[in-house]
Symmetry: C2
Subunit: 435 residues, 2 copies
């Protein structure tokens, strides 16, 4: 027990940083008994030192706006990076790891692009680099994948990993709201940012899925490998039909380890109302996994927020502290020891839901079915209703499993037929092939 | 990297032992890259050596029926105990730990009674003692509580931790079956043992809750501290009323860290159909927790079965292997550094559901309400229906939060009144006080 007090520096004092500071204070009296040592935040790096000082009050902590004041401190054990963004975080973390200082980060942007590089630097220098908070906020998922579940060959990770879009879809589903109204409500309640692009277009979720897929399949998947698709085109009508068919619509991050490579994408999907992910509502997150030994398992909780995210960061800080105390930093590093190719999105397979407006006359359905049959697409559910437009009918189909590219081609051909007035929506359906 | 191959012994080759053997074989080719070392089962202790040999086939593994052959092997790194029961498991594990050999066990009976003692021996000898598989099968819960969530002050752990009873209650709920029929079905499908007492009386769940409460609240809770109550008295009618009121009935293990002590009990409870635990069906398990930082979180998966349980055991074995490789065994030992008293069951508080047959005449409800008011019990829901018995009515009440002992006294007094013919059921209701 050489290190009774482990000194730490906090980079960033925004929402998460403030939460980490609070949580470590809340744990102050128990740390020593819990860990055999204690962790003390000694230095904080911020842009606005006065704002930070208002949060730390009388605490004897050095607040600075120069990273040099942090990295030249010879006795630092842990650097906690909660600034977000690629730079300067990447440079700071690299410098810290090169000095053998362990790092805890909540930075999904960085880990989804440069995770492999940074983990290698950590390993080369015998340091820890932990990032539990970068995915699904407070939910323990990275550590369970790397440890408790490590004796599994995992074949699937499916997550609701963006709280903003889950809140919006829940309101559309439960209250029949349209997307724009639900987005406004999310903004009013602080669930959506002023510029919600990264959330509603699936980019935030794609970053998290890159990180999850890398860990689950022991093969590096980066942000650009994950096909992102958002929820802006989902309408209340689609949700109504889904409900009628026994499905919810969720923005799912899907990562599959198939025989011919890894599939990784984010898109709105219909999911059976019997699946546990379908019951994950409001701003909650959940990650569902399947492994050869554990079978199905799911992790559910708060995907964001000051204290839940800080819970994950502080849990990592405690792990580093235990490793420092026992001389075991670097115990778990990068686990990507395979090189599995990532499949093109057009080569993935799913079932599809599509809503169309077509001419209301005999022979139209037959023509549509013939086009689909040309691409070997079979239909498992079909609903036809009168349209509000004169002489038009609304047709909703659900297909059996089909290759993405083939379905796209079939839809292009359908769109050219004069009997098809509009293809209103195309949404994938999560789940195994029927029959 | 001194220990390229870590030699292990397996005690027991029943369902879980066979699973562990299989899973380690399945991981054989990846272990070295995953862990920086590999684990090899070199010795197996069983009562029937021929039966075990049939399972290991041509593998060069020593099979013995004498523990001496195991414990005298000087190079063993890990002992995996999957025999179950208190003795001889307790003696064997004690001997192994005293020699500094790390132990992984799936033994809930043992850990729920002697966990504290064994963890102390492990710490004194610098060895690991891991037991993820002792609670909720394949679901990672012990490790996340000790690591990812360790920066939380946890106030509640609620679990569906017995698959047999959850299967029975699901059949009663979904198919309207009575308890006895659902139990027969569970036996036919292999979900219930020939003697189902430990499951249906809540004893198995109580053991698991003792383990979970100890870890969650950092204070030792043993099996006899947990009040157990089973599901044998639940009838299809209770479930029907629960459904009508917006509730499911689940066998819940509840552990709460209240200001005046720890509450720990297992009993069937009504739970709002909006709560994520209400959707945990069939033989699945789930553990729901609440902490000051993480807020709500839930862990869901397979609570039993050969491979899911083996997933947890093998995950622990990998953790020990990592610790041996980095010289960090004993890194996480007993985390019970507090001594919080466990409250008497009669001092716990809950809402209650009760179904009664009463005389069908004016003044009866008033008399009942008066009795309840005498104990300051207020009613939040009441349903009265005609009874099949002449001149009788069936009354179902749901109360606000009340002390267990007070509610019992009130019911005793009600039972004495001539207007009350029968108190058919008393079931607690999970969840916060209304109003």
């Amino acid at each position: 027990m050489e290190n009774k007090v482990i000194r730490a520096a906090l980079l960033g004092m925004g929402t998460v940083g403030t939460g980490v500071y609070k949580v470590l204070k809340m744990q102050q009296n128990e740390m020593e008994q819990k860990l055999g040592c204690s962790v003390k935040i000694d230095r904080i790096l911020v842009r606005n030192t006065e704002k930070a000082r208002a949060k730390t009050g009388e605490d004897p902590v050095e607040i600075t706006d120069r990273f040099e004041d942090i990295i030249t401190d010879p006795g630092l054990g842990i650097i906690i990076e909660v600034m977000g963004g690629i730079e300067p975080a990447r440079t700071y973390i690299t410098e810290a790891l090169r000095k053998g200082i362990s790092v805890v980060t909540a930075n999904k942007d960085l880990m989804a692009e440069y995770g492999g590089e940074l983990l290698d630097i950590a390993t080369d220098n015998g340091a820890d680099l932990f990032f539990e908070a970068s995915v699904a906020g407070g939910i323990p998922i990275i550590q369970p994948l790397k440890q408790s579940l490590s004796a599994n060959h995992l074949t699937e990770v499916v997550g609701i990993v963006n709280g903003t879009t889950n809140f919006i879809l829940t309101r559309m589903f439960k209250d029949g709201m349209e997307f724009d109204d639900a987005l406004s409500m999310a903004k009013d309640l602080g669930y959506a940012e002023a510029d919600p692009t990264a959330d509603v277009e699936g980019l935030d979720a794609a970053r998290k899925m890159a990180i999850l897929a890398s860990i689950a399949f022991n093969s590096r998947v980066v942000f650009r490998d994950v096909h992102p698709e958002g929820i802006t085109k989902i309408s209340a009508k689609d949700i109504e039909y889904a409900l009628e068919m026994g499905y919810a619509i969720k923005l799912l991050g899907v990562a599959r380890n198939e025989e011919d490579g890894i599939e990784a994408y984010v898109c709105p999907m219909l999911i059976s109302d019997k699946h546990p992910l379908a019951a994950v509502n409001d701003s909650f997150n959940a990650v569902f996994i399947h492994g050869d030994a554990v079978d199905d398992a799911m992790f559910f909780g708060r995907g964001a927020g000051e204290l839940p995210t800080a819970s994950a960061v502080a849990g990592d800080v405690f792990e580093v502290a235990r490793n420092i105390r026992t001389g075991a930093t670097g115990r778990i590093g990068c686990t990507c020891y395979k090189q599995i190719p990532v499949k093109k999105f057009e080569d993935t397979r799913n079932r599809f839901f599509s809503r169309m407006v077509v001419e209301d006359r005999s022979g139209v359905l037959a023509e549509m079915m013939e086009v689909l049959a040309g691409y070997k697409i079979s239909i498992v559910q079909l609903i036809q209703k009168e349209s509000r437009i004169k002489n038009m009918a609304e047709v909703v189909i659900m297909t059996d499993s089909v290759r993405e590219g083939d379905f796209r081609d079939a839809m292009k051909e359908l769109a050219k037929r004069t009997c098809v007035k509009e293809i209103c929506s195309i949404i994938r359906v999560y789940g195994k092939t029927i029959g």
